[in-house]
């Protein structure tokens, strides 16, 4: 029998980016907030200090910061006629756990989506007609527009101190920035990171082909910065340990650096770590949440009553929490009916390795997670798809996040995979190779979805999340088209040989690709095709909000943290300015 605790105004399920940000704003507004985090507490000092934090075997290979998949795995299959099996070793994507969530081990790449991304279906059909869409594709508009989100992107970037160069301020193109970006209200809070040599080589190659290179926006900072919460960040030292690591240097924006020190001092807030939420409790009508039930580290169960429940977990776990709690109708791929789990999308990846002359020293170990140089000429709908037979696109960039010894050993095609010849090739190429990445859109398909696994259960006896996913053919055509462009750039950079990449089928969970898992609890204008409304409020249970990338109807071109931050501020504003004044549905379907 769960012990019933004292009522609070708000409970957040998860204390990562969305959980700490919503809690900060609502506690400031005077609400009592409890943050339930399944993982352990951790802070820059003492937990993220060297030399322990640079343990590549522990963090990169054994994934020490990720969801414990002994306790809580995800099952996977490529299509619904297969039997899903648990992923026992994370590889393709890396859901974080512990205080701060995945916003601790991220790379700091901080993008905005484009204007067309938010009105994707309308935009594509208007520009190309309905025939360009394969029949299986289920893309949708978001229900919120870029111009509505712009102030929230701005606010989020200033919270993080993001280092970058504006390319478009209120429609005026800015030299040095990305001329193809969506218009922004003002410059980035801090100037861009220094361009590494690999970026300079890419810039030269891309410019020679007529493209528009720009410095990647980075939340590993180029200079010291104090954010509007009064929290100071330091300057990145290019140690090359961002992705899969915590920053020891107070230089990467994370809950620990830009949110938590203020939040934890707020008397309205209480953090409870090692608290695994099992379900959201509903009243007899099923239309109102009464709070949540969670288990502490010893397995004791508690009921935390709350007026407002915010699901602020990793996107995949947002969807699972809805399914476990019976909120919304689960998606049925046979009939196309139901919504929870529908439109699960991912990110298309790929890229090339450019092998250079031995006289060119790249020094890949001098890097941060977001100091690339990139182009948007093939992002989203920035190029004419009329004759191409696919939709979507990818950014292309020389993005090297640290030449760490276990993970980074580039060798040309045809090199043996082990032995003396392999070692010789690694020694020859380690310092003379540049990685070009292509990252981009993932198009929603009626075949891809999330559900509860019929067989496998977690350590608390609850069904695991089941993922059914393969890249739609549209995305393969798109990524392979762009792979050719990547090779051309690699040659223009002076590559002696250039490997060719691009997304292929079948999707494989044993190779790292991207941790940008999206959708499954998508936002929209119609409860028949969305789980949450434009404010990420559940259609079926209005005092539950499911916040984060689970709300993306499909993934845009870019890494999603910036858009999650903007959406979170957008939802917070709606809660503060509308919901609290008159609790109930903010949109009437």
């Amino acid at each position: 029998m769960a012990q019933r605790l004292k009522h609070v105004d708000v409970v957040t399920i998860g204390v990562g980016l969305t959980g700490s940000l919503t809690a900060l704003e609502l506690a400031k507004a005077g609400l009592t907030v409890v943050g339930l985090e399944r993982g352990a507490p951790r802070f820059t000092v003492p937990d993220f200090q060297s030399p322990a934090v640079h343990d590549e075997l522990r963090f990169s290979i054994r994934k020490a910061m990720m969801q414990d998949n002994v306790k809580e795995a995800i099952t996977f299959r490529n299509s619904s006629d297969e039997t899903a099996l648990p992923i026992r070793r994370w590889a393709s994507f890396l859901p974080g756990t512990g205080l701060g969530g995945s916003f601790v081990h991220w790379n700091g790449q901080t993008f905005r989506f484009q204007v067309a991304d938010f009105i994707y279906k309308s935009h594509i059909e208007q520009r190309y007609g309905k025939k360009i869409l394969d029949p299986d594709l289920t893309i949708q508009d978001w229900g919120v527009t870029y111009s509505e989100l712009e102030p929230h992107y701005d606010r989020f970037e200033y919270l993080l101190g993001t280092s970058g160069k504006a390319g478009n301020i209120k429609g005026a193109i800015q030299p040095g920035g990305n001329p193809l970006e969506a218009p922004r209200a003002r410059e980035y809070p801090t100037p861009p990171m220094k361009e590494p040599y690999f970026g300079a080589l890419f810039r030269k190659g891309a410019e020679s082909l007529g493209y528009h290179p720009y410095p990647q926006p980075s939340s590993n900072l180029s200079q010291p910065y104090t954010n509007p919460e009064g929290l100071a960040l330091q300057q990145c030292v290019f140690c090359g340990f961002c992705e899969r690591y915590a920053c020891e240097h107070y230089a990467k924006a994370s809950p620990q650096t830009v949110i938590l020190p203020v939040l934890l001092k707020n008397p309205n807030y209480e953090l409870r770590t090692n608290s695994q939420v099992l379900r959201i409790n509903l009243d007899g009508t099923g239309k109102k949440a009464t709070g949540v039930t969670y288990a502490d580290a010893t397995g004791r169960e508690f009921e935390q009553p709350a007026d407002l429940v915010l699901i602020t977990a990793f996107p995949l776990n947002n969807v699972r929490m809805l399914l476990l709690s019976g909120i919304g109708t689960p998606y049925d791929p046979k009939t196309g009916k139901g919504v929870v789990g529908r439109n699960y999308t991912y990110q298309t990846t790929g890229g090339a390795t450019v092998f250079l002359d031995e006289g060119i020293n790249v020094n890949p170990f001098m890097a941060s997670g977001a100091n690339g140089t990139m182009i948007d000429d093939f992002s989203g709908d920035n190029f004419d798809h009329g004759q191409l037979g696919f939709i979507g696109g990818q950014y292309i960039g020389a993005i090297m996040t640290g030449g760490r010894p276990i993970e980074f050993h580039p060798t040309p095609d045809g090199t043996p995979k082990w032995g003396l010849k392999w070692k010789q090739a690694v020694a020859r190429h380690y310092n003379h190779a540049v990685l070009i990445q292509q990252h981009g859109t993932s198009t929603a398909s009626r075949l891809n979805y999330l559900s509860l696994d019929p067989t496998y259960r977690d350590a608390w006896g609850l069904p695991l999340l089941q993922m059914t996913f393969d890249f739609p053919e549209n995305d393969i055509r798109m990524s392979q088209y762009i792979a050719d462009k990547v090779v051309e750039i690699g040659r223009a950079m002076g590559g002696k040989s250039v490997t060719r990449g691009g997304t292929k089928r079948p999707y494989n969970t044993t190779v790292y690709q991207s941790t940008h898992n999206c959708g499954g609890a998508i936002m929209g204008e119609d409860p028949k095709t969305s789980v949450v409304n434009r404010y990420m409020q559940c259609w079926d249970v209005p005092n539950v909000f499911s916040i984060g990338a689970s709300a993306f109807p499909q993934n845009g071109t870019y890494n999603y943290t910036g858009t999650i931050g903007a959406l979170t501020y957008w939802a917070i504003d709606a809660i503060k300015n509308q919901y609290l004044k008159a609790p109930g549905p903010l949109v009437h379907a």
Partner: protein, 235 residues
């Protein structure tokens, strides 16, 4: 002389000339790259460079251990790249110092390369020094290895290497460095007088109070760098 012999001689001369031209061009290219000469550096350390550079050894000792007072830093085994950067900064005035600036200005780039290569190569003994207050070194060790979360202060060793052994070429060692020198430099960073490194050092120094500075300085002075050196990979 027959016509045939003349032609052969002309051809032969031309061949020799062109080989010579290639050889000379190669030699010129070689001479443009200065390979640091430890021997010449040792001479500069011992004798200085007439007329305006006194012997480095006068203050830093011939073996780079200086005199232990902390008025002059230990430079034995310090990264040549770091020492050369500091000399260039003294010369340009970016790092202001009444003693070092005229000396550094008088050294040519080749002389800087030689003398820094020399001191980088020296393995000097550690001078016997008074034992510091154990409470002070304990606090210093905490700051060096873990930092202080209440001050948003990361550990020194994140950048200066395990045990403060340095991360050459860019980042100097602190292990075995004299306490007075460390404390004085931190104070200069704190006050913005020294600012010839990434913004990191000024920011960090400002988070330290006088007690913290004394503590890290006392701690690093007594770290047994000879033990650390044995565990470090070759530079």
């Amino acid at each position: 002389m027959s016509r045939g012999r003349t032609i052969r001689r002309v051809l032969a001369t031309t061949a020799v000339a062109s080989i010579g031209a290639v050889w000379v061009a190669h030699a010129v290219a070689e001479s443009l790259i200065h390979h640091p000469d430890v021997g010449s550096g040792a001479v500069i350390a011992a004798q200085g460079v007439a007329p305006s550079v006194p012997a480095c050894a006068q203050c830093h000792a011939y073996d780079g251990a200086s005199d232990g007072s902390g008025a002059f830093p230990r430079i034995a085994g310090q990264s040549a790249s770091y020492l050369a950067k500091e000399l260039r900064d003294f010369a340009s005035g970016v790092r202001a110092n009444a003693v070092m600036t005229p000396i550094a200005k008088a050294l040519s780039p080749d002389e800087i390369a030689d003398v820094t290569a020399y001191y980088a190569s020296v393995n000097a003994p550690y001078l016997p020094l008074a034992s510091p207050d154990p409470m002070l070194t304990k606090r210093g060790e905490q700051l060096a290895k873990i930092g202080d979360g209440t001050k948003d202060l990361q550990s020194c060793n994140n950048c200066h290497g395990p045990g403060g052994a340095g991360e050459p070429p860019a980042i100097p060692y602190l292990a075995g460095q004299y306490a007075h020198y460390i404390a004085f430099q931190l104070t200069m960073w704190q006050r913005g007088i020294r600012n010839n490194s990434p913004d990191a050092m000024a920011d960090i120094a400002k988070r330290l109070d006088a007690q913290d500075i004394a503590a890290v300085a006392a701690y690093f002075q007594q770290v047994d760098a000879s033990v650390l050196a044995a565990t470090q990979p070759m530079k």
